[in-house]
Symmetry: none
Subunit: 148 residues, 2 copies
């Protein structure tokens, strides 16, 4: 017998366009910031009240495998997710309102700052502080990161 073609490790889950996955897709499309699993569950249940948490986990995992979503990991917290395909960016976490904002652009060139022998392939950066909405003072809210 000959060789067999082994299916690509590429994941094409979400074979079906079910109500629940469509609802979850809508939730992400309507969101203006990264969402937690609970955020997705709650928003999704407004569309489909019977939506279960396991389905949300499975759908999100499938969408991440398909590169439709990207996880946003804030150290010490449960993951958030946001639609993929955006340009390289980082996140800002407001210590007052606890919301996570996206920061466009990346001004860093890490390779040149690493010790000899280290090679940088990727990086994650989270900046913590105070956002324009929660000011202890400041208010000049020019356009900035996608908020909320």
């Amino acid at each position: 017998m000959g060789f067999q073609i082994i299916p690509l490790p590429y994941n094409d889950e979400m074979d079906r366009n079910t109500r629940q996955r469509h609802a979850i897709e809508l939730v992400f499309k309507a969101a203006d910031r990264p969402l937690s699993v609970q955020d997705v569950l709650e928003a999704g249940q407004k569309i489909l009240p019977a939506l279960g948490i396991a389905t949300v986990y499975r759908a999100i995992k499938g969408m991440v495998d398909e590169k439709w979503l990207t996880p946003v990991q804030i150290p010490g917290e449960n993951p958030y997710y946001e639609p993929a395909g955006k340009t390289h960016h980082h996140h800002f976490r407001c210590r007052q309102c606890q919301k996570v904002f996206e920061l466009e652009g990346c001004v860093f060139d890490f390779d040149k700052h690493l010790p000899n022998g280290f090679h940088a392939e990727h990086h994650d950066l989270v900046i913590y502080g105070r956002c324009p909405i929660c000011p202890a003072s400041v208010k000049s809210t020019r356009r900035a990161a996608r908020q909320h």
Copy 2:
């Protein structure tokens, strides 16, 4: 590549100097990189075989409260801990050997790069790549997180 062991700020806030806390202290002093709870448990059990996981969690938590240890959060992974009191620094995670290294110094001034209205107070940075010990060719295995 290596790390230096920076002298720890001495701290006597622990109510008692028990064998198990002393063992855990030794483990951290002997470590040349941030350690996970499991790392500490395993190393500690070489000194005190009966050492329990709950004790490790409690001791680490106490040492963090006392500012004797600092948590090192790598997105998507369980926390590591390292002796506190070092200068501001970041971490490098080798995608091959999975080890976490310390990178001294931080040349970035993030406040300058934030949109108007945002104020940076703190930041976390993790650089991913290949460390000097690991050969360039080896392919990294599937998501090696969840080790222990």
